[in-house]
Symmetry: C2
Amino acid sequence: MMERLLKNIAPWLTGDGPEAEIVFSSRLRLARNLEGHNFSRRLTPDLRRRLAGEIEDGVRRAEAVRDPLVFRLEEVEPLDRLFLLERHLISRELSPEGQGGVMVGGGEVVSLMINEEDHIRVQVIRSGLSLEQAWEEIDRVDSRLERVLPFATADDLGYLTACPSNVGTGMRASVMMHLPGLVLQRQIGKIIQALGKLGLAARGLYGEGSPASGNIFQVSNQATLGKSEREIVCDLDRIVKKIIVHERTSRRQLLDRRPLKLEDQIFRARSILGQARLITSEEAIGLLSLLRMGVDLGILEAIPRRTLNQIFIQSQPAHLQKLAGSALTPEKRDALRARLIRERLAQTRKEEGKNV
Amino acid sequence: MMERLLKNIAPWLTGDGPEAEIVFSSRLRLARNLEGHNFSRRLTPDLRRRLAGEIEDGVRRAEAVRDPLVFRLEEVEPLDRLFLLERHLISRELSPEGQGGVMVGGGEVVSLMINEEDHIRVQVIRSGLSLEQAWEEIDRVDSRLERVLPFATADDLGYLTACPSNVGTGMRASVMMHLPGLVLQRQIGKIIQALGKLGLAARGLYGEGSPASGNIFQVSNQATLGKSEREIVCDLDRIVKKIIVHERTSRRQLLDRRPLKLEDQIFRARSILGQARLITSEEAIGLLSLLRMGVDLGILEAIPRRTLNQIFIQSQPAHLQKLAGSALTPEKRDALRARLIRERLAQTRKEEGKNV
């Protein structure tokens, strides 16, 4: 079942969509809980299992998630769990001990976690800066669910959630951005500070507390109360566009002020990615970030964004091991990652050669 | 005049000669002083100048150095002085303030410093492990000089020298070795310790106190007294051959134990050298060392040792600036060095392509 996912590049990583040069993807999630049940963490394992069954059933009846793959974490190998995490289909908090599960819609655009912090967390993820589109999609899913599953609400608050920080709309909107210019120009700290004042947060690749590997940041709203869903989406969209302008300015400044230094970093990144025999995922992601910026700036020959994104997601530890078909030691992983990256880049160069 | 040197690769860097894979060059030097004169440092500048004139004259009359270029440091630009130092034709101690000079024989095999610590220091340098041959050559030069210039000696001691550590034969024999295997296997410390017990020293590329950049070591005798010149040469030759065996063993172990790690380092070195836009001389020499080992081990396609040696010497700061024809800022130097290395390696690959 996992193989169906493995074979495809996640559609939100196709590299299409508005502002795809700087914005990998836009993501919305809604937190929902069923009326008449305690929050998941306060249920016994048996009751959680029963609840999960009810939700799965409801989702199917509502036809809320198209053609879903269902993964119950109690039945999922640790490696597969990591795989789903790398693919942003589950969160770190979703656990086998909590009888967590996920239903993944065709194309991985819509997915639905069960028994995370809340009974249900619906997610829609799209390539590029597409918050508006994502909002229409998740609103549709939510409306279908609501017809079948009675959600817990309070008139004066909106949707009730396990953590008070999600009460209200229960919505988090987040945009994954590639900001190497701001990092190299040491402007990112200022930006993150400014975002805080606007009620937004910038986190690393895998959410709260994770490092900003590969100069990738997730920018998201903090407040879920006091604004409508459309306002949350609009505000985030507006601010992301401002960050994009700053990122472009930083890149231009890098090019103007120390072009050789920048070219040096970019050519080194490409050459190491093309030649290394061992590479950690941390190093790979950092070099891929430089490679991507080099392509964006026209310093390097074009490499399709789709290919870069694919390398990026497939060089993660669980993806690699799934590709290999077995668990691997760290050194073997580093060797396979190096080979995968080398071959993909060589292939790109060959295909390019043909087009000339 | 300096241009004549610049155009040629130093013949001791042709990469020929016995054991040239691990031994860059063999070098002998004799310290000599003229009877009836104070040591150079105890003379006034005028007397030193007059002495230098006498010595130059004597060397010509004796026909001891073939077709010599004469450089008087008082007339030499600082950049040219650094150039001669990088070329191992003068020592750091030879200074304009000390009215130092050097006479360089055709092919740079024989050279003769004037007014260094001693009145005269004759040097013979040869490619590969060629101590015996170097000894015959320097002995011939010494004999010719001796017919014309009266050397200070004491019956019970041999040749008198400014520093007691050189009294006796006045000879230092040294061998420049490339020992990346011993460095990577962390065996080099033990080797250096053992050499100390045998009355030998291992120093960095530019002599005492200089770091062992590029895994290059100069192994030389410490004692000049109590052994004949032939014994010094024989002992050093024997021990160098043992170090070569250890180096080969270390390389084999590296290949056996962590082949991927070694290959990774070597391929990265080649790719960075082939792609960097800025490179310091310290980094370049370290990467060239790995490249060279990669060629020696057959991990990389053959690159003529001559080419590697040429890149190695020409990427030094003064050589670069002489090539550019003017003084350069450090960043410009790093850029030119990167370009030079890139172009030479690309050229090699092209020439190789033709041969296939």
